[in-house]
Each structure stands twice: as structure tokens, then as C-alpha cells.
Symmetry: C2
Subunit: 197 residues, 2 copies
């Protein structure tokens, strides 16, 4: 039962690479099995369907993302920085730039949307905890933290979704976070450095 898992992982990685480089819709199952050097039947021995493969590829991607987010949350830093650190981690770094770029092809709408939904679903509970801690410390003077965090996550995702974000977008976004959470004006200002420096 070891061999099977290894093969599946191999297939997932091939699919991951091809979905990103050629787009989900432009990658056929035949492409994948040719690259892997296996037969059609073997592929469907490991996957229910092509779409389920996509689903698993995305989960794999998000495992890595969530791991990073969890590190930030558990770090020994101020609450505001935790909140913001996770949000800033949305920003594609140098190595992820081509990924996010690929996601913007019309061809990849499905992939894009699925990632979006799953990411939000994972991040909101994580950040809600942080939000509640912040409230307990008197940093945020409002109720309904989870719902407010949800709004913030949605907005951050949208902000870093576009091909580029302007200085205005960042500034207003920071202000919005502070306003939504009833945080002290300027208390989130340090995000600017994170996003530009």
C-alpha cells in the first residue's frame, strides 16, 4: 500500500504543474498520463474524475498556504501583526507570482474560484481566533468578530487578486480593516511597509 500512495502523489504533482502551466481546461487526462507514462485505467484507479483531481490538487496547495498562516498565528508577536501577517501572506511572493498570473487566464476561472472559496473557508476560522484574542485584549471594540473577519478576508483576497494593487487600494484597505474591527486609528498602519517593502 506504499507504492500506491507514492504514485498518487506523483500524479498529483504532475497535474499540479500542468494545470498551472497550461490551465485546467487545456490539460487533458491524456496529457497527464502521457507525462506520467501510465495508462488511462491507472489514472482512474487513483482518481474518480478529472475534477476530483483538481479538487485534490487545490487542497494540496492550500495545505502549504495554511501551514504558513498557522506559523504566523502561533508566533510570539502582537495580535495586530498576526492578523496582518496572515493577510499579507496572500500577497504572491516572487516564487508564487507565475501561479497567481496563471490563475487569471480565462481558462482557469474554475480553478481560481475553487481556490478562492476553499481559502476563505480555511482562513476565516483561523483568523477568527486571532480576532477574538484581540477583542479580549481590548484592541477591537465590537462584537460579531467571525463575521467581521470574514468580510476582511473576502476583501483581502479580492485585493491581491487583481494583477496589481495601487497605493490607494492599500491605504483604503488598511483603513477599512481598522474601521470594521473598531481598532485604534493607525494601529494597522504598519501593513503598508509589509506590502510595499
Amino acid at each position: 500500500m506504499k507504492k500506491g500512495e507514492k504514485r498518487k502523489l506523483e500524479l498529483l504533482q504532475i497535474a499540479y504543474r500542468m494545470f498551472l502551466s497550461k490551465g485546467y481546461g487545456n490539460t487533458s487526462v491524456d496529457d497527464i498520463i502521457e507525462e506520467a507514462g501510465i495508462a488511462k485505467g491507472t489514472y482512474y484507479y487513483y482518481f474518480e474524475s478529472k475534477e476530483q483531481t483538481l479538487e485534490e490538487v487545490i487542497d494540496m496547495m492550500l495545505d502549504a498556504e495554511e501551514e504558513k498562516a498557522r506559523m504566523v498565528v502561533q508566533a510570539d508577536i502582537p495580535i495586530e501583526q498576526k492578523l496582518v501577517g496572515v493577510i499579507a501572506s496572500f500577497r504572491p511572493d516572487a516564487s508564487e507570482a507565475p501561479i497567481k498570473e496563471a490563475l487569471h487566464d480565462t481558462e482557469n476561472l474554475i480553478m481560481h474560484e475553487k481556490i478562492r472559496n476553499k481559502l476563505i473557508a480555511r482562513l476565516v476560522p483561523l483568523l477568527s481566533e486571532v480576532g477574538e484574542q484581540g477583542k479580549a485584549q481590548g484592541l477591537f471594540e465590537c462584537g460579531d468578530i467571525p463575521e467581521r473577519v470574514r468580510e476582511i478576508v473576502i476583501l483581502s483576497n479580492e485585493l491581491f487578486d487583481g494583477p496589481a494593487y495601487t497605493e490607494t487600494q492599500i491605504r483604503v484597505f488598511i483603513d477599512t480593516i481598522e474601521r470594521i474591527l473598531y481598532a485604534k486609528p493607525g494601529s494597522m498602519g504598519f501593513i503598508t511597509q509589509l506590502l510595499q517593502g
Copy 2:
């Protein structure tokens, strides 16, 4: 050249109906031409591709939506109600309920995302004007109105996107609008009636 336009409109309406009832991915070009009683070649005489058909169908849908929004904006009512009236128009009414519902099938992710993007692109300029008017009247005490409106539109879209929205979601959302625009606390409260009554 009159006959052609009429046929194209007919095809668009058939595609519109079928995309909504069966889903975009589950509707084949063959389905459409059978319903229309024409040959494949005729279809491709009018459309570049199936996806371009979807694009045009969506534009057609949004023309109607935008028309409604424009009516609200031009009406002789307070600024806050204009802003909110347009946003509330996102809410699927009785006749649109099946539409929005259909949009939530996995099958319709592409359609859903395309509508989303196009709707935001159309509504933001429209509502930005309203926002600027509100600012001129001293209702909103902040700069960067277009960007703030953009955030609000994104959030409203997301709010009404889910299958259902809770009382908490509505309450927080109203608060968020007021906070983002630096409006007087409670000045947007009347939305509640619109969304529940």
C-alpha cells in the same frame, strides 16, 4: 440585415434559458440548435464559440440589471437610499430566485464568476457617482470614494451570493458600510427593513 439580428436574439434567448435551467456546462451547442431548429453551421455563423455566446448572454442579463440600478440612481430619493437601493437590488427577488440558485451548481462556476466580475465592473462606476454626491452633501466624510464603493460592492455581492444570509450578516454588513464611508452611525439602518420586509 434585419433577419440576422432577429435570429441572433432568438438564439441568445434560447441559450439564456438553457444555460440557466441546465447549466452552462451541461448545455451543448447541439442542444441549442435543436431547440432553435437550425444547423450547426448557422450557429457558428452568429457566434465565434460557445464561450462567446455565454459572454453575450451575460451581457444581456446585466443590461437589464444595470437598467434597474440606473433607475434607482436617478430617482428623487435621499442619497443613502440610492446607494442601498442598488445594493438591495442584488437580492434575488421571487422571480430571480431560481436563477441565483442555478448559479450555485458546481457546473456553473464559470458563469457565476463571469457574472460576478462583470457586475462589479459595471456597478462600481455607477455607485461611485452616488458616493461622490453623498460626500458633497456631507454624508460621507472620507476620500477615495470609488475605492470604498468598490469594497462595498464586493462585500454585497458576496453577501447575497450565499444560499442564505443571517440576521448577523446583515447587521454587520450595514455597520461595515457606515464605517467604510464614515457615515453617521445608524444612517444606513433602514436597509434592514428592505432586506427582511
